[in-house]
Amino acid sequence: MTLRVAIADDSALLRRGLAALLEAEGMAVVCEAADAAELLACVDRELPDAAVVDIRMPPAFSTEGIEAAKEIRRRHPDIGVLLLSQYVETENAMSLFGGNPDGARGLGYLLKERVSDIDEFIDALRRVAAGGTAVDPDLVARMVSRPQGGRNMGEELSSRERDVLELMAEGRTNQAISRSLFLGERTVEAHIRSIFLKFNLRPEPEDHRRVLAVLSYLRAGGGH
């Protein structure tokens, strides 16, 4: 199935590069927008499967991409949005996921340079287009390894549980986690139950919901 993708970036160089890369991977780039307004017009018109959006765009060069992503999710709940940025910050992730009734569903937030690992990038884009979630590994690693006041994550979780936690927070499915850690799917499920128990969190059946629950937990510094 040919994925139809809209691109928005104020840099023509990156727009072209990204479009070329996606087309080389057999995707259809339906429009290349230079700002949020152009992107929204395109999305309304073309109804693509997903949009790849730069966070920093005119006019203020701040977080226009996040607002555009929320707007797309509001207007078209079936269209996934993958946000790209030269920085990944927790606050931006929480702003992106937190205000959504669907949580992290159909949303992704990655460093721009993740495109250099084409397979990973395409995987993340397809995941988002399918209603999944993609969170940048750097951001997750930073949140997981952040020193917690009064308690230590390392003592709480086994190293295997930490690996599972990170992949889960990145938005991977159980299947993907078991594949990349060479574990059985049952084992992965057991680890996830154990993590939610240790975090004192209610188990979430859907991937995008558990991403948000875990991120919220980590951001709050481990306390509830």
């Binding site: 990156l14 920093r56 030269q86 606050e91 340079e113 020193p147």
Partner: protein
């Protein structure tokens, strides 16, 4: 008359003449029993009728050493007060008139001599000390006669007094008219003895004297009435003394004719204290003058920080005893002097009763003192006031300059920091839109290239290059974050501090409470202060926990970073803490490090949103004083 002090030579000359005169009189006094009882030699008694009356009293008091001492004291008092006035007043005239009166008084003592020439001279000079005093009263306080009428009047007094003496004694031989005891005084003025003529002349002289006295009183009363407060204040002691002296003279004249026995002699003794009040009054005037100069010192102190118009003017009024004194400011915009009510004013015309002193600086007017014309008679007092005012103006203008410079320095420092911040922001933008974008684009190209080449050496090379590129991008990202944290633009201080906490190896507890949005400069300064302090805590303090608190009110932000580390941190010139202190100071804020050894480090910064604290605390000014120095003051009529 230019200000002219009495030279030491003049002082010596005056004192020498006075001493010689006193010695001459002392040697001339005939202390023989006959001489001390001679009524013709009674000091201060010119009237022939009085001498005849006194000569009829058998138990009249003789001339005593006590009386002579009083006589000398009055004469010396006149001379010394004259010298004192001469030395302290810029005009020599009042002092000289007093000295002259003193000399004439002392010379009249020759009357106690048995030498006919000395006796006659003493008689003729008996009341001659009065004309100089009258001239002083008329010309007070300058001693300079204002017009031809006054000059003629003074010449008339001298002639009249001399004529009265001659007329009284031209037909009076004292040796023939002493009923009790005898007189051996030889009157060289005598033409022939004629008691009837003497009595007639005496009566006429008395009427003339009373008329002249009344005229003088009227003139002085008119001057007093039309006089300004300043003139009255200066003339008051002398006027008082003159009234006392006149009353005493009338009393003595009446007593000599009306009383009998030793009472007459006692009454005659009253003339000494009555005359002595005159030099005393002059000394009192001098004291008031000096007192005024004394309070000038207070003036300079008192007006230091006072608003220019009200308190300075009040102090000046008190100092020169002129309640009508005003200080006008020069308004360069209106090219006019402006009074305390902001009205443009013209400098007073001549003969308007007002005088002005223009305070100039580098040839340009800065203000004017407007006062009673009578004050021009005390140029030294005005000089002192002018200096004080000028000093104050200069002081204030220097203070103003200093304050302006301080404000300017703070503003320029703020501008430097603000400009630096703007450049940081721009640099981060440039990195983001330039090098970073291009490198990201390169990673995409490389990724596609890697896809195109088959497994092998080329693909290996491309993979390694991609890894290097990834590292480069990461380093560039960290560099850009150090220049200006992008999260500040995107998420504000709270988001940036959270990001900071995530990247720190020590647990950081962040709490941000803001009532109002932060100005960009304050936000950035707060971020850098927190970042530096947190880095220090993690790196050097071996802290187990760091607490970051940012609390913003409507006007300022307080940032506190506290750790539980080893403490003992000292802000040094090489350390980052000093740079943070400078940053806080540039915003007009404070920066404080509390780091007792073993008990953690607490960094506190208070950053006001409006940096211009200095300008805000400057006192209200009623008038602006230009910078520069007051160079000279000119007195204009």
């Amino acid at each position: 008359m230019a200000a002219q002090q009495m030279t030491p030579r003049q002082t010596a000359l005056v004192l020498g003449v006075t001493a010689a005169l006193a010695l001459l009189v002392a040697f001339a006094v005939d202390w023989s029993p006959l001489a001390v009882q001679d009524p013709a030699r009674t000091l201060g008694l010119l009237n022939a009728q009085g001498i005849v009356h006194l000569g009829g009293i058998a138990d009249r008091a003789p001339f005593t050493v006590f009386e002579f001492a009083m006589f000398l004291a009055v004469g010396l008092g006149l001379v010394l007060s004259g010298v004192a006035a001469w030395r302290s007043q810029p005009s020599w005239r009042p002092g000289f008139l007093l000295v002259l009166a003193g000399w004439l008084w002392l010379a009249a003592g020759l009357r106690r001599s048995s030498d006919p020439l000395a006796f006659t001279a003493g008689v003729a000079l008996t009341l001659m000390y009065q004309p100089p005093l009258l001239q002083l009263a008329l010309s007070f306080p300058t001693g300079k006669l204002a017009n031809r009428f006054q000059k003629a009047a003074v010449g008339f007094f001298f002639s009249l007094w001399l004529l009265a003496a001659a007329a009284n004694w031209a037909f009076f031989d004292p040796r023939l008219h002493v009923a009790a005891g005898e007189s051996n005084s030889r009157n060289l003025l005598l033409l022939w003895d004629d008691p009837a003529l003497t009595t007639a002349i005496g009566n006429v002289a008395r009427v003339v004297q009373v008329c002249v006295g009344l005229a003088i009183v009227v003139v002085l009363a008119v001057r007093w009435h039309s006089g300004t407060p300043a003139y009255r204040s200066a003339f008051l002691p002398l006027g008082f003394a003159l009234v006392l002296k006149t009353a005493a003279t009338v009393w003595v004249a009446a007593a000599v004719v009306q009383l009998s026995g030793p009472q007459v002699s006692e009454a005659l003794l009253w003339q000494y204290p009555a005359t002595a009040v005159i030099p005393l009054a002059v000394l009192l005037g001098l004291w008031r003058y000096r007192f005024a100069r004394g309070s000038l010192g207070e003036l300079m102190v008192e007006i230091g920080a006072a608003p220019l118009n009200e308190r300075l003017t009040g102090a000046l009024r008190k100092t020169v005893r002129d309640p009508s004194l005003e200080l006008w400011q020069w308004s360069a915009a209106g090219a006019a002097f402006v009074d305390g009510h902001g009205r443009a004013r013209e400098l007073p015309e001549e003969h308007s009763g007002r005088a002005a002193m223009v305070l100039e600086r580098n040839g340009a007017p800065v203000g004017a003192l407007v006062f009673d014309q009578a004050l021009r008679d005390q140029p030294r007092l005005l000089d002192a006031v002018r200096s004080a005012t000028s000093l104050t103006l200069e002081n204030r203008s220097m203070e103003q300059q200093l304050r302006e410079q301080l404000v300017e320095v703070r503003r320029s420092r703020e501008r430097i920091v603000t400009a630096g911040d703007a450049r940081r922001r721009q640099l981060e933008r440039d990195l983001h839109d330039g090098a970073q974008q291009r490198l990201v684009a390169v990673t995409m190209e490389l990724a596609r290239a890697r896809r195109l080449v088959p497994d092998g050496e080329a693909r290996e090379l491309i993979t390694r290059a991609a890894v290097e590129l990834h590292e480069a991008l990461q380093e560039l990202r960290e560099l850009a974050r150090g220049v200006y944290p992008p999260s500040l633009r995107e998420r504000g201080l709270a988001g940036s501090l959270t990001a900071l906490a995530e990247r720190t190896t020590v647990p950081v507890d962040v709490e941000v409470r803001l009532e109002a949005p932060l100005p960009p400069a304050v936000e950035l300064a707060a971020y850098f202060i927190c970042a530096e302090a947190v880095t220090n805590s993690a790196k050097y303090a071996a802290a187990g926990m760091v607490r970051v608190r940012a609390t913003g009110t409507a006007g300022e932000l307080t940032v506190v970073v506290a750790d539980d580390g080893r403490g003992g941190a000292v802000p040094g010139p090489d350390g980052g803490l000093m740079g943070l202190a400078d940053r806080a100071a540039a915003l007009g804020g404070t920066f404080d490090v509390d780091s007792p050894p073993g008990r953690g480090t607490t960094v506190t910064a208070v950053l006001p949103f409006a940096a211009d604290g200095i300008a805000g605390t400057a006192p209200e000014e009623s008038g602006t004083v230009e910078s520069g120095t007051v160079e000279r003051g000119t007195v204009r009529p």
